[in-house]
Structure formats: structure tokens, C-alpha cells
Amino acid sequence: MAKTEFNTKKKIKVEHHESDLRGTLASVFLLGFFIIVTWVSVWMLFLDRF
């Protein structure tokens, strides 16, 4: 039992930094697009008004 635990830990350690973070990249880009859409919308409102 203890041995398996040790093994998983080791695996995490090796993979930690260049680990699979595709979901993270997708998530932050969704966030980024949300920011762009809201900012551009209000900017358009600003340009439209006098």
C-alpha cells in the first residue's frame, strides 16, 4: 500500500511541470475571449454615444 503511494507521488513529481495542461490552456483562453468580448462591447457603446 505504502509502496504504491510512493510510486504515484514519484510520477506526479516527474510530470509536474510539463504535465498535461491542455484543459487549463483552453480554460484561460475562454476567459481571455470573455474579457475581449466584454471590453470591445463597451468600447463600441462608447464610440456610439456622444
Binding site: K13, G23, S27, W43, F46, R49
Partner: protein
């Protein structure tokens, strides 16, 4: 080994100190929340306050209790517990200093509150001159600030002592973060202390006849923006370094977490002009420079977003999650200590997007002082920050009182988070929309002489009252949980979760704790952003203003 065992639990004497701060914080939540409910009801146009209670008096109560008292007291209590847990029990001297800070803050709060209740200080929590409150109101606020300095000094002294005894070692991540937040608070509050002590107090006491309005406002906003980051950073501490432990994962990167906090220390302060973008008397080029500096402070939040998603994804994948978003389902959705702060994190996405819009120089005119701004900071402060504070309470209060969060209370806490989400979606959503249509903030119900535009705002104001009522139910729920955890929950041991870095992770560079360097750069940035415009403001000052009491 013995040492680390001893650190597992906050010493009971330190726990008492933290709990004292939390009692005041939650009393403030109860009363301030009630005031908030009354405001939304009045502004719906359907309710009139009895006994001649003034809308703006209630609004002052709401802002002072929730914006100043709840936040500052909670943060002080939290940071005392954090430092005690991750750096070691406070010495008797440091703990007594913490109590002195507590009593100064509490007495100051009582003084300010008394003046507000006597209707001597309906100036809202921003107390802009030349509206002039009773001097005791300002003395009370000064004591709150001074008390927070004393308490902060006790934390810094405890940290400094640890550094002396452990040369060449990096401090614990949570202590480091708490110390950054304390430094930022002390630097920022110098501005509000200066305007209150040098300008407002002598003027309200009648020692001088007039006050320079723009100097006072500029000093206030030098403080006002880092104040909101002072609220936010404890939430970030929880997200970066506590939530990973709660879900069973690891801190994504200790070094990047420290770097983001350093960036907050540097860029939270020299940015106050973005609250003054449509004010006369300030050169627009200097406004733009501070807008650029404001955008710099977005970067650590971009880093934070990545780190948090990465923590969640790494954990989910270690549990065998597949696909692009499979990790999302592996998160502990039944654990209030995770779910409630997680809702807070999500709310920071629209909150941050709105904040970028607010700070965008001339575009600020679209939303300045409309109720959009109120909607904005009810997402940042009143959702992201406060829900995280609630999430922290669900393990910290029982840890400090030697009790446990029962299954029933855990469930109630999750329901509380959902209630808050629904209520805030109504209230903040309606505020954002009405603000874009021009509805002003901080205003009682009015038909504005029957103007067609003002009629359009009323349905949104009714939606705000619906949201406000739901939020008040949320406040009752959290008070039930707090009282349970403080006095009635079953006795037992509750974990104080402190995140760990992955085993092979690199050590954080010691340069992060070179305070001379960071405080020096922080001072240089402040001097750069403020010296020339501030001299301009003083040199070109108009005749000063006498005081007014228009309530």
C-alpha cells in the same frame, strides 16, 4: 519533526485573538447585510423606511460595516491564524500587541458607528469633503487604521524574528503572502491617514476654515485602490495555498505564487487616478500613466487564473481524468470548503473583465459613478472575496474553537453558496445593465421629474431588490453556520489545511524576501506616479472649501 507537529494546530491563545476579530467581523456582516437589504428595498420604489430613517444613513452603515469593518477585522483574524499556524505561535509580547490592535480597532469602530447612528456622519464610507461629519467619526476611523497598524506590526515582528532565527531559509508561502498584504496595507493607509489627520480632522474641529478638496480626494484614492487589493489578497492566499490542500492536490508553483504577490505589492498602489479619471484638476497624461500602471496589476491575476486551473487539472488528471475538461468532474463538489471559494473564483472572471473596462481611461465615462460600479464591486468584494472568507470560516472557525463542521452544516454551507450565486446574479447583473443605461449609484429611489430614461431603470431596481432579498437569506444562513461553529458544533479536531508543493518542485528564490528591494521599488513607483501631479494639484489649488452638512 517535533517542531512541525507543534505547528499543526494554532495555539489556543492565538486562536482566541483570531476569534475576537471574527466576532466583530460577523456582527458587522449581520448589521451591514441588513442595511444592504433595506437599501435595495427602498430603491425598488416599493418600500419606505419607517421612523424617518434616511436612506443615506443606512447606506453609510452598509459601506462602513461591510467595506471597512467586516473586511479589515476578518483579514486581521485570518492573518494572525495563518502566521501562527505556518510560522509558529506568537510570543506573549506579539500577542498582546495583537490585542491592543484589536481593541483600538473595536473602540474606533464603536465611535464611528455611534456618530453614524446619531445622524452626525451621513457621509458614506468614502467621506468625501467638503461634506463634514462629526470629528468623533473621523477619530474613530483613525483608530481603526492605527489599530490595524499595531496588529500588522505584531505580524511583521513575528515574521522578522523567524527570519533572524532561520537565516537563508524561505518563509512559508502563506506567511510570506500575509506579510506582503500587511506591507501593502500599511503603505496604502498612509494616504488616508494623511488626509484625515492633516486635513479633515483640523477642519472638522474648526481649527482651520477650509480644506483642499482635490488633495484630499487624491490622498483618499491613493489608499482606495490598494484597499480593494488588501481585501482580495487573502482570498488569493486561500486560492493559491489552501484550496489545493482541500482538494487533495498540490500547489502549482510556490515561486509563481510569490511572484504574483510581489507584483501586487508593486502595482496596487500607484494607480489611484483610475478612480479619478473624470475629475477636473488632474492632467490627462498623468491619468493615462496611472491607467498603464493599473493594467500592470492585471498581470498577476492572469497568472493566478492559470495557476488555479492548473492545480485543478493536475489533480483531476492524477485521479485518472480524461479529455479536455474531464478533470473538472473530479473536483470535490460535496465539500463546502472547496465549493464556496470556487464560486468566488468564478465570479472573479466577470468581476475582472468589468474592472478592466472601468480602468480604461476615457471609456470610464460610460460607467463612472453609475450603478455598474456598485455591481462591479459586489462581484469582486461581495462575491469573490466574501464567499472565499465564508469558505475559510467553515474550517478555520471550528479549528480555532475545537469543533467540527458537521455534514448538515457542510450541506447548508453549499446551499448558502448557491443562494448567494442566485441572489448576486440578479442584483449585480441588474446593476451592470442599469448602469450602462445611466442609472447612478448611491441614490435613493427617484423618478427624476418623470424622465423617460429614469422609468427604464425601475425594472432593474426591482430586480436588485429581489437579488438583495435572496442575498439577505444567504447572510442569515452564513450567520447560522458561524454561530453553530463558534458555540454549538460537536467538539473535535478540524484540520487547518496548508497546501504543499509537489515533491520535486524547485525552492523559491530568496530574492523574493529581499524587502529592501521590493519596498524600494514600490516607493519608487509611487513617487513616479504621484510626485509631479501632486505638486501640480497643490501649486494650482483653488481657494479651499468650508464644511457642509447637507443631511
Amino acid at each position: 519533526m517535533m517542531n512541525s507537529n507543534k505547528l499543526e494546530k494554532v495555539d489556543s491563545r492565538d486562536a482566541k485573538l483570531s476569534m475576537a476579530y471574527f466576532y466583530v467581523a460577523f456582527i458587522a456582516l449581520a448589521l451591514g447585510g441588513l442595511a444592504g437589504l433595506l437599501q435595495t428595498l427602498v430603491r425598488s420604489g416599493k418600500v419606505v423606511l419607517p421612523w424617518g430613517i434616511d436612506y443615506y444613513q443606512v447606506l453609510t452603515v452598509h459601506g462602513v460595516l461591510l467595506g471597512l469593518v467586516l473586511t479589515t477585522f476578518f483579514i486581521m483574524g485570518f492573518q494572525f491564524a495563518l502566521i501562527s499556524r505556518t510560522t509558529g505561535t506568537f510570543t506573549n509580547g506579539a500577542r498582546i500587541t495583537g490585542w491592543v490592535g484589536f481593541w483600538l480597532m473595536t473602540i474606533g469602530t464603536a465611535m464611528a458607528a455611534t456618530m453614524v447612528l446619531l445622524k452626525e456622519a451621513s457621509v458614506l464610507y468614502t467621506f468625501y469633503a467638503p461634506l463634514m461629519a462629526h470629528p468623533i467619526f473621523y477619530i474613530g476611523l483613525t483608530l481603526v487604521i492605527v489599530g490595524s497598524w499595531v496588529a500588522g506590526g505584531s505580524m511583521i515582528a513575528t515574521y522578522a524574528k523567524w527570519k533572524r532565527n532561520n537565516p537563508g531559509k524561505a518563509s512559508s508561502l502563506l506567511t510570506f503572502m500575509a506579510i506582503i498584504n500587511t506591507f501593502m496595507w500599511i503603505i496604502a493607509t498612509l494616504g488616508v491617514a494623511a488626509t484625515v489627520l492633516i486635513q479633515i480632522l483640523p477642519w472638522s474641529l474648526g481649527l482651520v476654515d477650509t480644506i483642499d478638496i482635490l488633495v484630499s480626494r487624491t490622498l483618499f484614492w491613493y489608499f482606495g485602490h490598494p484597499m480593494v487589493y488588501f481585501w482580495l489578497l487573502p482570498a488569493y492566499m486561500c486560492w493559491y495555498a489552501i484550496v489545493p490542500k482541500i482538494i487533495g492536490g498540490k500547489i502549482f508553483s510556490d515561486s509563481l505564487a510569490r511572484l504574483s504577490f510581489i507584483l501586487f505589492l508593486l502595482f496596487s498602489i500607484p494607480v489611484g487616478f483610475h478612480h479619478q479619471l473624470v475629475e477636473p484638476g488632474i492632467d490627462p497624461a498623468w491619468k493615462y500613466i496611472q491607467v498603464v500602471l493599473t493594467f500592470m496589476v492585471i498581470i498577476p491575476s492572469l497568472m493566478t487564473a492559470f495557476s488555479l486551473f492548473a492545480t485543478f487539472e493536475s489533480f483531476g488528471r492524477s485521479k485518472g481524468a480524461k479529455g479536455l475538461f474531464g478533470w473538472f468532474r473530479k473536483l470535490p463538489w460535496g465539500d463546502a470548503r472547496f465549493v464556496v471559494p470556487f464560486i468566488g473564483m468564478l465570479s472573479f472572471i466577470p468581476a475582472g473583465a468589468g474592472g478592466i473596462i472601468n480602468a480604461s481611461h476615457q471609456m470610464n465615462a460610460v460607467i463612472h459613478n453609475t450603478i455598474w460600479v456598485t455591481g462591479h464591486f459586489h462581484l469582486t468584494a461581495a462575491t469573490a472575496v466574501v464567499l472565499t472568507f465564508f469558505g475559510i470560516s467553515y474550517w478555520l472557525i471550528p479549528h480555532l474553537t475545537g469543533r467540527v463542521l458537521t455534514k448538515a452544516m457542510n450541506k447548508l454551507a453549499i446551499i448558502q453558496g448557491i443562494v448567494w450565486t442566485i441572489g448576486m446574479s440578479f442584483m449585480s447583473g441588474a446593476m451592470h445593465a442599469a448602469g450602462l443605461l445611466g442609472a447612478p449609484r448611491r441614490s435613493s429611489f427617484s423618478e427624476y421629474g418623470g424622465a423617460a430614461q429614469a422609468q427604464e431603470w425601475i425594472p432593474y431596481q426591482i430586480a436588485q431588490a429581489v437579488g438583495g432579498s435572496i442575498l439577505f437569506i444567504g447572510i442569515i444562513l452564513v450567520l447560522i453556520i458561524f454561530i453553530n461553529l463558534a458555540f454549538f458544533a460537536p467538539k473535535g479536531e478540524t484540520e487547518f489545511p496548508v497546501g504543499e508543493v509537489a515533491d520535486g518542485a524547485e525552492k523559491p528564490p530568496l530574492v523574493f524576501e529581499n524587502w529592501k528591494l521590493w519596498l524600494g521599488i514600490s516607493a519608487a513607483l509611487i513617487l513616479f506616479a504621484y510626485t509631479i501631479p501632486f505638486i501640480d494639484i497643490i501649486q494650482n489649488a483653488p481657494p479651499g472649501s468650508k464644511g457642509y452638512k447637507f443631511w
